[in-house]
Structure formats: C-alpha cells, structure tokens
C-alpha cells in the first residue's frame, strides 16, 4: 500500500502513529482485529519501521550496525550477504562516518532482508538511493508481498510492484482515525 500526499500532509505522522511511537489524539489502530494497545509487544514484533533518520551509528561499521538492528538470532553470514545484496560488499568493516548518505540508507534498508517482521512501514525509503537500488528494493518488496507480508510505504515515486493500492493523505483529514 502506497501512501501519497503533499509535503507536510501527514504521511510520516500516519506511519509513526502505526508504530505507536505517537499516540493518536483520537481513533485507534487495530492489528488482526485487536487494538494494538492490547497487544503492543506482539504487534511490535511484527513491524519494521524505517523512518527519515536511518538509525545508523556513525562510529560503528556497516556490519556492526546491521547486526545490531537485526534479530539476535540472525546468522553472521546472513548479515554479510544482506549487505552484499545492497551493494555494500567491501564496506562491511568501514566505519559508517566515511560512507555516503545513500550508503547509510542502504545499511538501514539491509534490515529488510534480515528481519522476520510481517509488516513493513517504510517512510520515504528511496531517499538518496540510486536507480539500481530502487529497482532492487522494489524486487524485495514484491517478494515480501508474495510471501504474504504487508508493506506501507510513503513515497512520491510510482512503484513497479503489482497490485499497489494508494492512499492519499490530505492535510485536513483526520489521519488518526485511519
């Protein structure tokens, strides 16, 4: 599902409401028919949220960052191969402060490959990513959907994924009641 809307219309707010990092002033979010306040920890095990800030520690290497962000049971090989898939082969041991903005984003996006979460909440995931990267991500997203996962992505780009539904966020709308 793709969230569209003008700048400042509330796309990020909507996604953050869905992570429950923000509390809705009215309305509630339901997961599998249950209010997420009732099953917050179970719900949060199922979500993967990528916000504007990639959450990458500049003093850690790409590999350490990803190991840190992945589930504890992730095998070291899976981490290395996820980084290689995102075009970071050879940068595993480089401290992230010497990587570019697009590479930071790629480190964060490598989480998509190591995570077992069912619901991906991606806020502008393609920022600073080149064309090949976008194509690869769309492929990942398609695969995740084929495996029965759900994706909510806010982006201004048209996605090359089959069966995308679009929501438009309008500034006056009550996003909390979604």
């Amino acid at each position: 599902m793709q969230i569209e809307g003008a700048n400042g219309s509330g796309k990020t707010t909507l996604l953050r409401l869905l992570t429950r990092a923000l509390e809705a002033s009215s309305g509630s979010v339901f997961y599998a028919g249950v209010d997420i306040d009732q099953c917050l920890y179970d719900y949060r095990e199922q979500i993967l949220y990528l916000g504007h800030q990639p959450g990458v520690k500049l003093n850690l290497s790409a590999e350490e960052n990803l190991r840190w962000m992945s589930p504890a049971s992730t095998a070291p090989e899976a981490i290395v191969s996820a980084l290689a898939d995102l075009g970071l082969r050879g940068y595993e041991d480089v401290p992230c402060y010497s990587l570019s903005a697009g590479q930071h984003r790629r480190v964060a996006l490598a989480r998509l490959l190591t995570s077992r979460a069912q619901i991906w909440l991606l806020d502008e995931p393609f920022t600073a990513i080149d064309k090949q990267g976008v194509a690869f991500l769309e492929q990942c997203m398609q695969q995740h959907l084929n495996q029965g996962g759900a994706i909510l992505v806010s982006t201004h780009q048209d996605l090359a994924i089959t069966g995308v539904r679009k929501i438009r966020v309008e500034p006056a709308d009550d996003a909390g009641g979604f």
Partner: protein
C-alpha cells in the same frame, strides 16, 4: 518474553560500550576534566596539607558531580539525532531495560573510572589515608546515582539543542542528597567514625534510583519522541 528483555539490556550495554571505545577521546573527557580541575585546587587554595585536608572530601565530590554532569548531556543526544532512539522506543520490549543498559554503560565509562582514579586526586588534595576506602566506596555507589538521575534529565532535554543549562537546573537539586551523604561518608572515615551509615544511605538511594529512574527515563523518552 524475559529473554527479549535481557537482549534489550545486554544489547544496549554492549553497543554503548563499543561506541564509547570507538570515541574514546570523547568518553575520557569527564575523567580528564576530573583530573585537570583537581590539579587546579592546590594552586588556587594552597598546597599546604593542613589547609587542603578539611576541603578534600567536599572538593572531590563536587568535581565528581560536575564531571558526571558534563558527560550526561550526550547520553541520548546522538541516538535522538540519528533515529536509533525511535527504533529503541518501538522495539518489542520494555523500554526500561535498554535504558538501564545504556545508563549502566554510561556508569562503566564515567563513574567507574572516576572512582578508580580518585585515590590520585586524594593524594593531590592530601586526603588523610583513612578517607581513601570510604571515598572510593561512596564514589562507586554515588556516581551510579548521579548517572541514573542525570539520565532522567538528559531524556527530558534530549530534543533541545542547547539543553545543558536546563539539564543542570533539573538535575543538580536531585544531586544534593548524593553529595551530602557522599562527602559525609568520606568525612566520617577521616574522623574515625562509622562510615557505613552514610554509605548505607547512599546504597539505599542507588537501589531506589535503579528501580525508579529507568521507568522515569522511559516515560520521558516516549514523551519527547511523541512531539
């Protein structure tokens, strides 16, 4: 479930220790501050042992407090800026556990080294030899309190760009009992009194802080991130 809580505590403890190791210059700054200011006191007051002696417990404690305060401001700042704080908040675990892990790492990087180098400062300030053990014991417990209480202030001021002054205003009143009983422990040791009594009160304060501060910090972080 309990496993997940553990992962939050040890995971963040390890990560913050690794980060401190990578930025060791920055991590060592409270310690260097502690040592540098201690060298100034004999120059400013008098190098005579007789005049330094009565001041030593108080001065050591004030400097330990300032050194801890100096390092507390950055406790959540970089996590807030790079977005990992938000990831911590939405992680499927009790937020108090990663918070406690971070504060423990902070204590291991500031409070523990301060405690370990304090005998050097004791010598510089001509602290009587009976005061050394009480000083180290009280600093070990007291800096733990300082880290925990300071972290509450750091969490509340994390979204402010220049939160340093506000942090001091928030936290210093709460530091007062720690410094009173901390220097009282050292003084009691010097006077040959039973210094376990003030130390026990410090221990009680630490126990209370360990139980309550992580919850307060978690609440403050949620509040800040929901703006």
């Amino acid at each position: 479930m309990s496993n997940a809580h553990n992962a939050g505590f040890t995971g963040y403890l390890q990560r913050d220790l690794l980060l401190a190791y990578r930025r060791h210059g920055e991590a060592a700054s409270p310690l260097i501050f502690f040592l540098l200011v201690a060298t100034l006191v004999p120059l400013g007051v008098s190098p005579e042992a007789g005049r330094l002696e009565p001041l030593a417990p108080g001065i050591i404690w004030v400097m330990a407090l300032l050194a801890t305060l100096l390092s507390t401001e950055g406790l959540f700042a970089s996590d807030y800026q790079d977005g990992s704080l938000e990831q911590m908040i939405i992680a499927p675990q009790l937020l108090a556990m990663p918070v406690l892990g971070k504060v423990t790492a902070h204590w291991l990087v500031t409070g523990l080294p301060l405690t370990l180098v304090s005998p050097i400062i004791g010598i510089m300030l001509s602290l009587p030899s009976d005061g050394f053990i009480p000083m180290m014991a009280s600093l070990a417990l007291g800096t733990g309190c300082l880290s925990l209480v300071g972290a509450v202030g750091a969490a509340l001021t994390v979204s402010l760009r220049k939160g340093g002054l506000l942090l001091s205003l928030l936290v210093v009143p709460l530091y007062m009992p720690v410094i009173i009983f901390g220097s009282a422990t050292v003084q009691a040791g010097i006077d040959g009194l039973n210094w376990f009594a003030p130390l026990a009160i410090l221990g009680a304060m630490l126990a209370t802080a360990v139980a309550l501060c992580p919850l307060a910090i978690a609440g403050a972080l949620r509040l800040v991130s929901s703006n």
